[in-house]
Amino acid sequence: MKKIKKTQINQLFEAVKNEYSVVAPVIKEGVISLDLITDISQIPSGFTEDEKGNSYKVAKSSDRFFSYSRPYLPFKRFIIPPEFVFMKVVKNDGRINFTEVIPDKKIALFDIRPCDLKALQILDDVFINKNSHPDSYYAKAREKLFIVAVTCFSPTENCFCSSMGISLKPEHGYDILITELKDSFLIRAGSEKGSKFLERIKAEEVSQTDLVEEEKTIKETEKKINKKVSTENLSQILYSQIDSKQWEKVGSKCLACTSCTQLCPTCFCFNIVEKNSTDGSYSERIRVYDSCFNPEFATVHRFNIRQSIASRYRQWLMHKFAYWTDQFGSYGCVGCGRCITWCPAGIDITEEIKKLREGYDNH
């Protein structure tokens, strides 16, 4: 662990930029978004989101460097993009040749918060660790990733990460972890790759006072997270509520717009489509984000198994909090709160779970 001056963050950034394309939060069209950046000044320092229910405002109201919370877009799109060609197919003299497309970009995720870091580990389980046919595209992209995590001191009112078992300061899964103190940054390496970067930066020793300040800030920030999901026996309770009347109620509000699944950092479902040249000699196989809210999602022989929106909402919530535990041994939610902020119908997943739990308690 080392300590650097606030002005030295640029050195760290430049060192990372020398080896990687850097993806970081930016302010774009009025929201904290995510994009490739080339200069540390593109980071929206000083901006803070005000998220209440499904309202969202950004204002410049802080003197901290990492003042904002997680970006509205999840990082998954820089590993598995919303749409990408995974195979090129050429037809020649009746024979077909396939070329597998392998991601070759070295990407650094600069300023990933603990919720999104955990989401990455969940996706690793889905695509690689707990899959008998590991996804080679994901594996390649993941292998080339460099991760700069940041201890989160700026949760929004919609964040409920702590109840999903996520600490503000991640323990592992990063190459470098930055913790912002009042006058400095604490920098920890979480991997050999990370250590090598730290060696290049002139740094100071960390004092006991710094660690006390860090601990104190974590404690104070924890108090700001008031939203929560009670996870005690949650999957069993949800299984018992599969016929709850609550699904109909939420289904009548939900627009099936797929906003939640697109912004969810763990939603992984995709479709495979073919794009062809007009002369019939060339075809691209494309993976494109899909959503369990789409009307064709569960179609067998032109019949959609989940006709009602209520059933699609049930599928989504049950997957996150019940099915996922059976499939991968964890919840499929990290409490980032994006689905609450960006739901045009104002549906709050924590409230839905509360109502389902009440239905169980009153039974």
Binding site: F98, R306, S311
Partner: protein, 268 residues
């Protein structure tokens, strides 16, 4: 460093024989070094159109059989393939029929429509190992006379096992049973400790289970091969999700008692 073979890699094989089973259904015998087991399926690709999961209907040496009904975009194109053409596929995927479960007991195979393609191979294997079972009963329900699959095999099957067919609709050319398969189950003697392998449309499965339960057959002795929307076949695209299961990799064969609570609910 993670080294993984691309799960979407397709391989080409030669169609050596094409049989027209019905007006819209074809069997393809494909020369391949693949080693599928009864119950498993392959993803068959057609250039520019996409892939479809197709059960392996039979295997004979280095030949595997796929029976395809030309009903969707992909299957219609696959149906247009001819002998000597290349067919592109990946697999095999999914789990298998647990034949050993039925050793020493009556094996009952229930198939509806194209579901026979998913049960035919295990039936053939059971015939080869006839002595292992107390008896083999195979019930097959077809919508009408023209939809009957594998007609050229009936005589052979009849000579080995108790193979019965029922047609949903009467036909002047048909002298056998008429009525839904549930009616045929009703009037057929089935052991209480029989092991059942079943494949057919969801409603057929649901009502057949009810009839079997009336005969004392436990739902833990009934195995069903399910059909759901499958795109990736490796448990990542999410389309075939069915309760906590990915039909593509946890199935397609399920013990009914384990899926009952999801199967009997609408829109799961």
């Amino acid at each position: 460093m993670i080294t993984t073979e691309n799960p979407y890699r397709l391989r080409n094989f030669r169609v050596v024989k094409k049989i027209r089973e019905t007006a819209d259904t074809y069997s393809f015998w494909i020369e391949s070094d693949l080693k599928p087991l009864p119950g498993q399926y392959n993803m068959i690709y057609y250039f520019g159109i996409g892939e479809a999961p197709i059960t392996v209907a039979g295997k004979n040496g280095n030949l595997i059989q796929h029976t395809v009904r030309a009903s969707g975009d992909v299957t219609s194109h696959i149906g247009s393939l001819s002998e000597e053409d290349f067919i592109y596929l990946r697999g095999p995927y999914g789990n298998i029929w647990p034949a050993e479960e039925a050793y020493g007991k009556q094996l009952v195979i229930i198939s509806g429509g194209l579901g026979l393609a998913a049960t035919k191979w295990i039936m053939e294997e059971a015939i080869k190992n006839k002595k292992q079972f107390k008896g083999i009963l195979s019930l097959y329900g077809s919508k009408n006379y023209d939809s009957l699959l594998y007609r050229y095999e009936y005589e052979r099957w009849h000579s080995h096992i108790d193979f019965r067919i029922t047609l949903d609709k009467p036909d002047p050319r048909w002298k056998g049973d008429v009525g839904l398969i549930t009616e045929l189950i009703k009037k057929t003697e089935i052991d209480r400790d029989a092991v059942v392998f079943m494949c057919g449309p969801d409603p057929m499965v649901k009502f057949s289970v009810i009839e079997l339960e009336k005969k004392g057959v436990g739902t833990d002795k009934i195995y069903v091969s399910m059909e759901r929307h499958m795109k990736c076949s490796v448990g990542t695209c999410g389309h075939c999700m069915f309760g906590p299961f990915f039909v593509c990799k946890d199935g397609p064969v399920f013990r009914y008692s384990e899926i009952k609570e999801f199967f009997e609910r609408k829109e799961v």
